[in-house]
Every structure is written in C-alpha cells, then in structure tokens.
C-alpha cells in the first residue's frame, strides 16, 4: 500500500538548547486491521504500519510498536529534548515492507 501515504510532522522551527519540544506526527494510512470482512464475507487481509520511530541526530527519541488497534491515519504526540541544532528523522514501517521517512530541521537559540 504505497499509494496515498503521506507523512505529516509538526516540529517547532527553533528551541532553546537542552529545551523540550512537543512533536506531533500523522501519516495517512488506512490501517486495515485484518478483522473486517468485505461484502462477500471474506476477511480483508491485514495491512498496517507496524513500527514508528523518531530520532534526533541519530539518537532515539521514541520507538512505537503498532498493533491493528491503532486508528486509521496513525497519530502520535510526544516530547523530545533538543540538546543542539540538528535534524529529526521520522520513520514508519509498513507491513508490506515499505518504509516512509521524513526529516525536520530544528535550530537552537
């Protein structure tokens, strides 16, 4: 399910050195749970994003394991420490092997 997957991430443009920022992430994905049936009664196979990670300059911030009980268009909100200027990297791992990535720069003031 590589079509129509679009990551959206909200990170402040700057932070104080060593300060805390709140990050909000959302990726458009149908998160088919594998529990639903189609009109013929056949089970629709599971197709979800099963892992999400956020890193800052190579250091991990949060690593989330997702199960089918996560809603369509998985949304996460969490807090990170920003020790220096650099780059946040967000990675989503799809059941079908696809990996979606996006990065955000942040400066310190």
């Amino acid at each position: 399910m590589a079509s129509g997957v679009k990551p959206r991430v909200k990170v402040p443009k700057s932070a104080s050195a060593g300060g805390t920022v709140t990050i909000k992430t959302l990726i458009s994905h149908k998160m088919e749970s594998g529990q639903r049936k189609d009109s013929d009664g056949n089970i629709i196979p599971r197709s979800i994003i099963n892992r999400f990670t956020a890193d800052f300059n190579g250091q991990n911030v949060i690593d989330v394991t997702l199960e089918p009980a996560i809603s369509t268009n998985p949304y996460f909100e969490f807090e990170a420490v920003v020790p220096e200027a650099g780059e946040f990297k967000f990675t989503w791992y799809d059941d079908d092997g696809d990996v979606y990535e996006t990065t955000k720069q942040i400066t310190v003031s």
Partner: protein, 140 residues
C-alpha cells in the same frame, strides 16, 4: 423438592445471568495472558501511571488516548474488549523529554484501557481506565 412456577422462573433467570456473565471474561483473559507474557507474572504496582482517555467515546474508531508514566522505559497499552488486546508499545529513547505519549486507538465496545509501564528499575506499574463506546470500531 417441589418445582413451582416461581422456582422455575428463578432458576431460569439465574442461568441466564450466568450465561451473560461467562461471555465477558473470554476477552479479559486474553488481556491477562498478554500482560503476564509482558511482565513474566511479576507483581504490578499502581499509582505512577496515568491514562488520559475520554469517559465516553462516541466513535470507537478513533479514541484519543494518552499515557504518562514518569520513570518508565516502556509503556504498553491494552484494550481488554478488543479481539486482539494489544494496542501499542512505546519505548522511550535517551532524547525523550517526558515519559508520555498520546495516540488514537480503536475500541470495539465499552471496555477498559490498560497501561502497563516497565520502570527503570525493572518493576512494573499499571493503570486502568474505562471508556464507554457508543459506536464500536471493529465492524465491517
């Protein structure tokens, strides 16, 4: 013992109540199994984990849920009324500012959301919150 109409009615309603009760723990046991698989059967304390969830969720497809557990290295969420109780596991890395996160989850019906946090010293803490669901989030 003489079976009067009154007694038969009493027996009948008793078995009905039993039948409706026994259908509930099937899912709850799944959750207990999943939790003990995570903790290895260790005792769990309560008090240092907070679940932020609505009391009533109109739509079970997207229920906003947040967890907060100061001192945790890992928080796992369960929903004891879902066909699969596991919901998500948050592992906090070195640059995580607070041991809290929020997301949106699916709930099939009115049920408990359970959060189990693994603390820095290896002990476990848990919290439970009931969410009433008006429209379930698992139907096809």
């Amino acid at each position: 013992m003489e079976l009067t109409r009154r007694k038969i009615l009493a027996i009948g309603s008793g078995t009905l109540a039993l039948a409706s009760l026994s259908s509930l723990p099937a899912f709850a046991n799944l959750t207990e199994e999943a939790i003990s698989a995570l903790t290895g059967g260790a005792d769990m304390g309560e008090g240092s984990v907070t679940i932020i969830a609505p009391e009533i969720a109109e739509n079970g497809n997207t229920v906003p849920v947040g967890v907060d557990a100061p001192g945790a290295v890992e928080i796992t969420l369960f929903a004891d009324g879902n066909p699969v109780p596991n919901v998500a596991t948050f592992k906090f890395g070195p640059l995580s500012a607070s041991r809290s996160a929020s997301t949106r989850i699916r709930l099939a019906k009115t049920q408990n959301v359970v959060a189990v946090a693994k603390m820095e010293d290896g002990s476990f803490q848990m919290a439970k919150a009931e969410v009433k669901v008006t429209i379930g989030g698992c139907g096809g």
